[in-house]
Every structure is written in structure tokens, then in C-alpha cells.
């Protein structure tokens, strides 16, 4: 067996196994059902609401943005929490003690976090397709574009999510330094409120961030050409979308290996023990 590909294959198996474990875990299942249920119910209640300036309904227009929000949120916050928690409980140290364990662990995180988004996407897209007809206006090519955009979005978010988890010393820091900015990004990225309704400078900020552009890209992939009147400048900007998502991916992929190596180097039994003591004090 080759020692260079083994960690990746072991990582794929580890990620798949963790995914199966999460599927048999009641908390994870509740999480999937709650969020998908909330989105589906909201869209169902507004299934006949027309969108001004187009022949489309609200669910058709909002769904791509909702998917974008979930993928970017999950891609950043998912690995950040996983890493900070598994640093604290010693999972990472356990992996560090095995040959190529950290590489296996990181591969598994990529697999797990990507697979972990699938149940959510499926549980939203399938029911919504029943009442928001048609969901996809661009045929098979549109679905290919959706798939490609989601992969690019994972590249733009997972490495940065891991960086957040690697830098954070305790879960509380992920909540404040990771979760809040992502929620802020969600508020201004044209998911809930059309971006054109926001102040100019807020629009500017949103257009540097990945969530707006993933939403824009997905709307382009799902919706007919007439829907461009809803976008800023009333035009599709697919190249810009790819460019911004690609730039975030490049930053993440450049940063993550360095930060993860530094994090792994610092892991030791006493580091885990010190965090355990701190945790016990936190919970008194």
C-alpha cells in the first residue's frame, strides 16, 4: 500500500464513517429536520406570492439564496466548531499520535462537512420542487452549474472555517469571532432582503463577501434570464461571482495548511489537559 495516498483514502473512509455516525445521531437529525423544515414551511406559505417585475414566485427566487446561505454558513461554521471541539476533547491529538493522522483528519473533515450539507440541501430542494414549479429554468446545464458553484463555495469556505477553528482556543470564541460575522454576512447578502434595498456602502461590503456571490451565481443557474432585473445593476455578473469565490478559495487554501500545521505542532497532552481544566472552571 502506498504511503502517500493512504492518508487520503483513510481520510475518505473516516469522513464517510463520521457522516454515517451523524446520521444515526438524534441531535444531528433534529438539526437537519428543523432547519430544512423551517425553510420549506416559509416558502410553502408564500408559494403564490408573486415577485414584482417578473413572472416568478417568491419560492423560486428565494430558494437559491437560501441554499447559498446554508452552504456558506455550514462551510464556515461547521468545520470551525468541529475543530475547536475536537481540539478540546483530544481527537486531534489522538490523530497526531498516529502516522499521517493529521492529514487523515483534515481530509475527513472536508469529506464530512461537504457530505453533511447534502441532507439539508436534499430535504429543502425536493419538497420545494413540488410547489415551486419549475424550480430549474435552465435544464440539465443549470444543474451542472449549481453543482460546480457548490463545489467552488466549499473551496471558498471549508479552509477558512478550519482556520477559524484552528485559531480559536475554545468554542465560545468560535461563537463570537466565527458565528457573529457569518450571521452579519447573512443579513447583508441579499438572502432575506434584496441587496438593492440596502445602503450603498453595505452593498459594497456584501459584494466582497462570498455569500452574496454564491447566491447571485445560484440565482443565475436556477432562474430565467428575466430575473436579472432583481440583481444589482439589473445584470448577471457570473464572472465576478466566480472571481470573488475563487479569490476566497485561494486565500483559504493558502492560509489553511500553514495555520493547521501550526495548530498540530502545538497539540500535546498538557495542552489538552490545560483546556480541560479551563473548561471545568467555565462550567464550575
Amino acid at each position: 500500500m502506498s504511503t502517500t495516498t493512504q492518508p487520503f483514502r483513510a481520510g475518505l473512509r473516516r469522513g464517510w464513517r463520521e457522516f454515517l455516525i451523524s446520521l444515526r445521531n438524534p441531535e444531528d437529525l433534529t438539526f437537519y429536520l428543523f432547519w430544512s423544515g423551517a425553510v420549506v414551511v416559509y416558502l410553502f406559505l408564500n408559494r403564490t406570492t408573486p415577485v414584482e417585475g417578473t413572472t416568478l414566485t417568491l419560492p423560486q427566487v428565494v430558494l437559491p439564496g437560501a441554499l447559498a446561505a446554508m452552504v456558506v454558513f455550514g462551510g464556515l461554521v461547521g468545520p470551525a466548531f468541529a475543530l475547536v471541539i475536537e481540539k478540546e476533547d483530544g481527537t486531534l491529538l489522538r490523530m497526531k499520535a498516529a502516522p499521517h493522522g493529521v492529514r487523515t483528519y483534515v481530509t475527513a473533515q472536508v469529506v464530512l462537512q461537504s457530505l453533511g450539507l447534502l441532507p439539508l440541501l436534499v430535504l429543502i430542494v425536493l419538497p420545494v420542487a413540488l410547489f415551486a414549479h419549475p424550480l430549474m429554468h435552465r435544464g440539465a446545464g443549470g444543474w451542472v452549474a449549481v453543482g460546480a458553484l457548490l463545489v467552488l463555495a466549499l473551496l471558498a469556505t471549508l479552509p477558512l472555517g478550519m482556520v477559524i477553528g484552528a485559531v480559536a482556543r475554545k468554542p465560545g470564541q468560535v461563537s463570537t469571532w466565527g458565528l457573529l460575522p457569518v450571521l452579519g454576512m447573512m443579513a447583508i447578502s441579499g438572502i432575506f432582503v434584496p441587496i438593492t434595498a440596502l445602503w450603498g456602502w453595505v452593498q459594497g461590503v456584501a459584494q466582497v463577501l462570498p455569500m452574496y456571490w454564491l447566491g447571485h451565481g445560484l440565482r443565475w443557474a436556477f432562474l430565467p434570464d428575466e430575473a436579472r432585473v432583481l440583481e444589482a445593476g439589473e445584470t448577471w455578473r457570473v464572472l465576478e461571482a466566480l472571481g470573488v469565490l475563487g479569490a476566497w478559495a485561494a486565500v483559504g487554501l493558502l492560509l489553511a495548511p500553514r495555520v493547521l500545521r501550526r495548530m498540530a505542532r502545538r497539540e500535546s497532552g498538557s495542552a489538552v489537559e490545560a483546556r480541560r481544566q479551563e473548561r471545568m472552571q467555565r462550567f464550575g
Binding site: 504511503t3 481527537t91 491529538l93 499520535a97 502516522p99 499521517h100 493522522g101 498538557s270
Partner: protein, 300 residues
């Protein structure tokens, strides 16, 4: 690659570790040979865990030379990891995994490093049998008791059939029976596979039962190094003789108890009862050693 009995598995020269201005390790020298079981003993804060973490490659030292299985652990290749087993304190990882799943997955990582003498990984069934977890194989880790959890940690430590095994307080939380089973397991590993073992412990009796050699660490230095027997002799050659005579108890300390007792019994007119001769135990030795070195530290 197998380490032969008697060759140096660990060589440490003038190891130093400094946090800020505090020297935690202040020139440690030590050698561990193939097939040896060495116990690191010392009061809290003596540098035991720091030393073992440097040897494990988990911590970068401030100075000195360290060779473990032929490599510097600070930048050893991943193949080196496959030859080393580690059992640390307080692990709560992989909570939702089942025992068998964890052992299968971690075992996988060792497969590329299998050799004829050391087939890696060790089969999961054999491993479960060895540590006595066969009945819990399908339990999620979060449902294991403290003792079972510790056995799993040991199982993970030896899944790759290591040539060198580090055990940090391995029997913390074990009941006496589990402790004895663990001691048998370590002896079996050493006898059957020539595994070299370095352990830290607070239990002197454990060190005495398991170790061929005991190193006492105090104030960042090794203050004693020898077999449990030799250690007990080196510090205190004085024995205590106790006896009763006419309802009264007597205690006498002397360097040559044999001569004293011979003399005592020759002139006692048959009145001496409850005669007891007690050599300094390892515990006496240890307490004396640590006290002596703490006093020296303070007077410096």
C-alpha cells in the same frame, strides 16, 4: 525495522526546557535500551510530563540532544510515528464512535508500515481480547466507564504494535484488579514483542512491579537512576529493627541488622517476641530523595 534488545532506543543529553524564565528541565541525561521498562517518577511539577512529551515529539525542547528510535522526535518522519505508541491522560475523544470502529480506523493508518516481524495493525479481535473489551466492542465510547475508557486508550496505544510505548499515568482510575491485569498486559508485551516501555506514575508500587529501572525526576533533573532494589539501597542502608520485651516495644535503627539481631537474641533469655526487621522501602527512598533535592534547590 526492529529494535534489538540492549541497543539504545532513547538517548537524551543535556535536555533543557524553559518557559519564560523558568527552567522546567535543567540538563536531563537519560538512556533507555531496547526491551527495557523504565518508570519516570517525581513530584508534581518535576518535569515528568514535559520530558515524556518531548520524547513523544509533541513538544519542542529549548535545548539539548534527543534521539528516539534513531530520529530526533522534533522533526521525525511519519514512519517514525508508526513505531511509537502513546497513551496519554484524560482523553475524551471520538465520543460517538463505537469501540470497534475506532480501533479499525486508527489501525488502518498503520497498515502501510507493516513488516514481517511486526505485522501492523494488530487485529481488532486480538486487541479487544488483550485489553478485556470484547464485550464492549459495539458500545459508543461515551458509554464506557472510566476504567473501560482507559483500556481503550491502551488498546489504541498498541494497535500499531509499537516498538516503543509511552504510558502517562496509565492506571489512574483503575481498581486494584484492573491494575493487576494491566501490569500483566505490559509484561506480556515486553516478553512477547520486546516492546520498550517508558511510563510515568504516581504509584511507587506500580513502578516497583513494572519497571526494570526507575528514574526519579526532581527540580528538572534526574536525581536517581537504578533498579528499584539498587535505589532502595543507595539512599538508605539503614534498617529498622522492632521487637517486644516484657510488654514493652522497642525500635532500633542500624546499618547491620543481622549482627544486631544475632546479639539481641543471644542475650534475651527468650523474652523477645514480635521481632521485625524492615529495610528501607522504595517509598522511604523516594521521599528521602525528593526531600533532599528540594532542600538543595531551596538553599541554592
Amino acid at each position: 525495522m526492529t529494535t534489538e534488545t540492549g541497543t539504545a532506543v532513547i538517548q537524551v543529553r543535556d535536555l533543557r526546557m524553559r518557559y519564560g524564565t523558568r527552567d522546567v528541565l535543567d540538563g536531563v541525561d537519560l538512556d533507555v535500551h531496547g526491551g527495557e521498562v523504565v518508570a519516570l517518577l517525581g513530584p508534581n511539577g518535576a518535569g515528568k510530563t514535559t520530558t515524556i512529551e518531548i520524547l513523544e515529539g509533541f513538544r519542542v525542547r529549548s535545548g539539548g540532544e534527543v534521539t528516539v528510535l534513531g530520529s530526533d522526535p522534533a522533526d521525525a518522519p511519519e514512519a517514525w510515528r508508526a513505531r511509537v505508541g502513546v497513551v496519554l491522560q484524560s482523553w475524551r475523544d471520538h465520543k460517538r464512535w463505537r469501540v470497534r470502529e475506532v480501533l479499525e480506523h486508527l489501525g488502518d493508518l498503520y497498515a502501510p508500515y507493516s513488516t514481517a516481524e511486526r505485522p501492523r495493525p494488530r487485529p481488532v479481535g486480538e486487541l479487544l481480547e488483550l485489553v478485556g473489551l470484547t464485550d464492549s466492542a459495539d458500545q459508543p465510547l461515551m458509554r464506557l466507564s472510566g476504567g473501560q475508557r482507559r483500556r481503550l486508550d491502551v488498546a489504541v496505544g498498541i494497535v500499531g504494535r509499537p516498538e516503543l510505548l509511552f504510558l502517562d499515568e496509565p492506571t489512574a482510575g483503575f481498581d486494584p484488579e484492573a491494575r493487576r491485569e494491566f501490569h500483566d498486559l505490559v509484561h506480556a508485551l515486553v516478553d512477547a514483542e520486546g516492546t520498550t516501555v517508558v511510563l510515568t506514575t504516581h504509584h511507587l508500587d506500580e513502578a516497583e512491579k513494572l519497571a526494570d529501572r526507575i528514574l526519579v525526576l526532581s527540580g528538572g533533573r534526574i536525581v536517581a537512576d537504578g533498579s528499584p532494589d539498587a535505589l532502595a539501597r543507595s539512599v538508605s542502608s539503614i534498617a529498622e529493627v522492632r521487637w517486644c520485651r516484657g510488654g514493652e516495644r522497642f525500635v532500633h535503627s542500624c546499618p547491620d541488622p543481622t549482627a544486631f539481631v544475632r546479639d539481641l537474641l543471644a542475650h534475651d533469655d527468650g523474652e523477645v517476641t514480635d521481632l521485625e526487621v524492615r529495610r528501607a522501602t522504595l517509598e522511604d527512598t523516594y521521599v528521602q530523595l525528593v526531600r533532599r533535592h528540594t532542600a538543595q534547590e531551596e538553599s541554592r
